[in-house]
C-alpha cells in the first residue's frame, strides 16, 4: 500500500476505453513522472488523481483514504497547470493565498505561509504584481508557489515547463529538482519530454495507448526497456534498432546482420540465452552511446565488437559528434567524442559495446530477458 495508490484504474469516454487497468503505487517523497506521447492518457490519469475527471473503475487513494468521488478541494492536493492558470484579476500574493482563503485559514497564518514560500522561491518582490506583468519564468514560479503554500500531500504537475523557452526550461527543471530534494514532497509530474522524465524522476511510468508500458527507475527504463516502444521513446537520439538473425559461430550466439545479399556482419551477443533463439529473427537494440569510435568505447566492457562501415552524415553537436551510417538496411546513429577524426563517405571502424545491447522479439516487441 503506497502513499498514493492507483489500483486497477480504467477510464472510458462512452464505449471508448482510454486508460486500461493502471496500477501504480507511489511512496511518500517519491517523484513519479508520467511520460508518453500525446494522447497516451497521462494527463487523463493526472486529472483523475486531481479529481477533475471521474474514475470509471478501480480506485485512487491518498494516505490510505479512498479518493473516488471526493471533491478536488478535499483531497489535499495542489496542481501546477501547463498554462499556469493564474487568476488574472488577482495579484501574485492573492493568487497564492486564494486556496488558503477558500479553506478558511485566518489572515495572519496566510500571510505567514505566503512570506515563507515567497522567500523560498525568491519572488518576494513580485507579490503585488498582477500575472499579466510577469515573465513566463516568473509566472511559473508563482504557479509553483501557489501549490507550495497549501502544503498538500501530493503535488501534481501537468507539463509545467512546456510553455517556456529552451534555456529557461532547463533552469526551471533544475529548480524543481532542487525543490523536491529540499522539501521531500510527493510529486506526480506529467510530461511528454523524455529528458525531463529522466532528469527529474525517482521513478518513471512510460505510457502509450492507455497502458503503462513500464514502471521503473530512470536507469531501469533506460538500460532495460521492457519493450520496443519504451526503448525507442526514451533516449535522444533514439535507440538504433537493427533486424538481425541469431546464428551460432563456434557454439557462441552471434547477431547476423544482412547489409546486402551475401554480405553480413556478425556481432557476438553477451546475452548467453540467445543460444535458445538460434536460427530465429530478432531485433537488436543499440543505444547511440554504445556505438562509438574505438578510443571512446567503454573500457570496462568485456564485449566490444568492431565494425567497418561507411560514414554517411556527420553532425557535430558541440560536446558530441553524431555519425550516421547504414547497417542492415537501416540508418543508425553513433555518438562519438567531439574531436573524432571522421569524414563523410570514408570507411570508419566503429566500436560496438555489445554488453549494452538489448534484444527484442520481433513478434511481441517485448525484450528478451537475459
Amino acid at each position: 500500500m503506497g502513499f498514493l495508490d492507483i489500483s486497477n484504474v480504467t477510464k472510458s469516454y462512452g464505449s471508448v476505453e482510454v486508460l486500461h487497468h493502471v496500477d501504480i503505487a507511489v511512496e511518500e517523497g517519491e517523484f513519479l513522472v508520467l511520460v508518453g506521447p500525446s494522447g497516451c492518457g497521462k494527463s487523463t490519469l493526472l486529472n483523475m488523481i486531481a479529481g477533475l475527471e471521474d474514475i470509471t473503475s478501480g480506485g485512487i487513494s491518498i494516505k490510505g483514504r479512498m479518493m473516488n468521488g471526493v471533491h478536488p478541494s478535499k483531497r489535499n492536493i495542489a496542481m501546477v497547470f501547463q498554462s499556469y492558470a493564474l487568476y488574472p484579476n488577482m495579484t501574485v500574493g492573492q493568487n497564492m493565498t486564494f486556496g488558503l482563503e477558500m479553506h478558511g485559514v485566518a489572515k495572519p497564518a496566510r500571510d505567514k505561509a505566503l512570506a515563507d514560500v515567497a522567500k523560498l522561491l525568491q519572488i518576494e518582490q513580485l507579490l503585488d504584481r498582477k500575472p499579466g506583468q510577469l515573465s513566463g519564468g516568473q509566472r511559473q514560479r508563482v504557479a509553483m508557489g501557489r501549490a507550495l503554500v497549501r502544503e498538500p500531500d501530493v503535488f501534481l504537475f501537468d507539463e509545467p515547463l512546456s510553455n517556456l523557452d529552451a534555456k529557461l526550461r532547463v533552469d526551471m527543471r533544475t529548480e524543481i529538482k532542487k525543490l523536491h530534494e529540499k522539501l521531500q514532497t510527493t510529486i506526480v509530474y506529467v510530461t511528454h519530454d523524455q529528458i525531463e522524465a529522466m532528469t527529474l524522476s525517482t521513478r518513471i511510468a512510460v505510457m502509450n495507448d492507455g497502458y503503462v508500458q513500464q514502471l521503473g527507475t530512470p536507469k531501469e527504463i533506460y538500460d532495460t526497456p521492457t519493450n520496443l516502444f519504451v526503448a525507442t521513446f526514451m533516449g535522444s537520439p533514439a535507440m538504433n534498432i537493427l533486424p538481425a538473425k541469431v546464428s551460432m559461430i563456434e557454439g557462441v550466439p552471434h547477431a547476423e546482420i544482412t547489409n546486402s545479399p551475401g554480405q553480413t556482419t556478425s556481432l557476438r551477443f553477451s546475452q548467453a540465452n540467445m543460444a535458445d533463439w538460434a536460427g530465429k529473427e530478432v531485433l537488436l537494440g543499440i543505444r547511440p552511446e554504445a556505438l562509438t569510435d574505438p578510443e571512446g568505447a567503454d573500457r570496462k566492457s568485456r564485449n566490444i565488437a568492431s565494425l567497418q562501415n561507411t560514414v554517411e552524415v556527420i553532425e557535430p553537436a558541440g560536446a558530441d559528434t553524431f555519425v550516421t551510417t547504414t547497417l542492415g538496411g537501416v540508418n543508425i546513429i553513433a555518438r562519438m567524442r567531439a574531436d573524432t577524426d571522421v569524414a563523410t563517405g570514408r570507411m570508419f571502424g566503429f566500436a560496438v559495446n555489445m554488453e549494452k545491447a538489448v534484444v527484442f522479439d520481433p513478434k511481441s516487441k517485448d525484450r528478451i530477458e537475459p
Binding site: H71, F81, Y87
Partner: protein, 292 residues
Amino acid sequence: MAAATQDSAVSSGKITRVFIYLVLLLSALFYLLPFFVMVVNSLKPLEEITGGNMMALPQTWTIEPWLKAWSTAQIGVEATGLKPYFLNSILMVVPAVVISTGLGALNGYVLTKWRFRGDTLLFGLLLFSCFIPFQIVLIPMATILGKIGLAGSIPGLVLVHVVYGVGFTTLYYRNYYAAFPTELVHAAMIDGAGFFRIFWRIMLPVSGPITVVSVIWQFTNVWNDFLFGASFGGQTQPMTVALNNLVQSSTGVKEYNVHFAGAILAALPTLLVYIVAGRYFVRGLMAGSVKG
C-alpha cells in the same frame, strides 16, 4: 506581394483619404441633421416653427418647451408631462437590465464551464428567443401575465423583458467565456472555491467588456421598446408609450417644439449610455467573437 500592395496603398493614400473623409463627413451630416433639427426646434417658441424655417437657429431661445414636455404637457387624459413615465421607464429598465445580464452571465458560465449532457441543445433553444418576433408572443404573454397577476404592472414588464433578453445575454456571455481558459476554473476548484465563488471571484472580475456590451444592448432595447410597453404597461406605461401619446394627441394645436423636446428626453438615456460606454461596446463585441 505584401510589399507591393503596401506601396500602392501609400502612393494612392492622399486621394483615397480625402475621399474616405468626405464620405464619412457626409454620413455623419446625414445622421446628425435630424438631431440638429430636433434640438434647434425644441429651443424655439412655437410661432417661429409654424411661421418660419425648420433649419434656422432660434431667434428667441427658450427652454419653455422642455419644461412643458417634462412636467405639464397633456399625456392622454392627464396633464402630467413625461416625468412620471420617465420614472416608470427607469423602474422598468434598471431591474430588467440587471436581472437579464446577471442571468446571461450565469448561463454563459454554466454552458461553458459546467458542461452537461444536452447543453448545446439547450443553448440552441435559448438562442431561439433572439429570433422570435415580438408580435407572436403577445397573446400567450398576456395570458401568462394575467394568470400570475402581473398584468399591467412594472414587475410584469420587467419579467417580459428579462425573458426576452436572456437569449441575447446568454449568447454574449457564452461566447466570451468559451475563450476563458478552463484550467483557471480547475485551479479554483482545487483551491476549494465552489460554483458561485468561482463565478464571483474568478469569472465576473474579468467580464468587464462583455458586461458593457450586454448592458448597452439590454438598456437600449428595453428602453426603446414600445410594443410590450403599450400592450402590458397598463397604468404604468413607459416613456415610449407616453411620447407617442404626447405626439399623437389630436386635440388643440400641435406643439412641435414640445414634441421635439419630449422626443429628445425619451432618447437621452440611451444616448448617454452610448457616449459613456460606447468604446467598450465595440471592444467587447470583438472580444467575444475572437478567441485569444
